[in-house]
């Protein structure tokens, strides 16, 4: 793993500010990030631990006037076990219940789950230089590789990696809205 600067933040504003660096990465559960950093696939210079934000609304599941608000730092296991989710939005619970393993579900955050990277073996293996996801313009080793497990629909001549998550599919099915916070703005 390459060296990196490490920072803990405890406010949302602090997290946005810390991420001003071009090669920074947020660390929540770490189940994708640490794995891919060990493989040298992800190479952040600055890692910003945002787990302390879990004490805020980002770590909570709350009922709203028009539905339910899921904090990005709620852990997969906690969302799947939440009684309101199981009763009113079972598709969310089902999409989380049997994903990965119990340990990974205890660690992984809902925000990180949506943002998880593809499992394309060529993306995960840096001995293949050609990967447009890792290095833009380098090509795609999967196009002519062992690609039986790759995408059939929505592919291009640049990439045929699949998106691995189940939870995001449930969000799409429910027509959910994702709130994003960035430098100086909030978006939905």
């Amino acid at each position: 793993m390459r060296p990196f600067a490490f920072d803990h933040v405890s406010t949302l504003a602090g997290a946005v500010q810390a991420a001003g660096h071009a090669q920074s990465a947020f660390l929540a559960g770490g189940t994708t990030l640490i794995d891919l950093m060990k493989l040298d696939v992800m190479q952040p210079d600055v890692v910003i631990d945002i787990n302390r934000l879990g004490d805020s609304a980002l770590g909570k599941i709350e009922r709203t006037a028009d539905g339910v608000r899921l904090g990005a730092l709620v852990r997969m296991a906690d969302a799947a076990a939440h009684p309101d989710i199981r009763r009113d939005l079972p598709v969310i619970a089902q999409s989380l219940d049997l994903a990965a393993s119990a340990q990974l579900r205890n660690m992984a955050s809902l925000g990180g789950n949506v943002l998880q990277r593809t499992r394309c073996t060529y993306f995960r293996d840096v001995s293949y230089a050609a990967c447009n996801k890792r290095s833009r313009g380098s090509g795609c080793a999967a196009l002519d590789g062992v690609n039986r497990m790759h995408a059939v629909l929505g592919v291009s001549d640049q990439c045929l990696a699949t998106y691995p998550g189940d939870f995001a599919q449930a969000l799409i099915a429910l027509d959910a809205t994702v709130s994003i916070v960035g430098a100086g703005q909030k978006a939905r």
């Binding site: 640490i34 890692v47 787990n51 296991a77 049997l98 119990a102 205890n106």
Partner: protein, 206 residues
Amino acid sequence: MPNASSPAAGNASRRNFLIATASTAALPAVARAASAKAVLAQDPRNVSAPIGLALRVNGGERLVALDIRTTLLDALREHLGLTGSKKGCDHGQCGACTVLVDGRRVLSCLTLAASAEGRDITTIEGLAKPDGPLHPMQQAFIDHDAFQCGYCTPGQIMSAIGCVREGHASSDAAIREYMSGNLCRCAAYPNIVAAINQAKGLMKET
């Protein structure tokens, strides 16, 4: 004489080969470290030097100085001498490194030690006092011969405790599903299920 010298010659060439291999391997690492240093030099929060961490392990606070890249697993094994937690795949797939953090089972190989600061870490070494009885789950694994080589066992036991605490040990099927993050190359699975069934009624903690 040729007979006597050939093993020595063989050793010498093997040693030379190893040295040559190590030198070759070291080159990119040196170059990489230099470029990383240049990048970090631009950042005032340069933490390429070891950082001091206070880790609360098995009820006691332990002070360590670690490279920031150190995982919780490596901190436990290499710096604190707690080698019960095992390194299997080191990529979160096998479960051999499972420990409890704030009472929840997690994978120490995918946790940075720096992220675990201030949390309660429990390893297999912390389940029973040195002169006390074994934890019911440890005893159940012995009673049911729930291992063969034993390499996955500390992770299996920590995970099994988490499984029971989460309320996911209500049936054999539930145990099998919720223990699926712990692989056993010796395939002691039926005995592991039997052990968890025994221990779940004896575990008093919540």
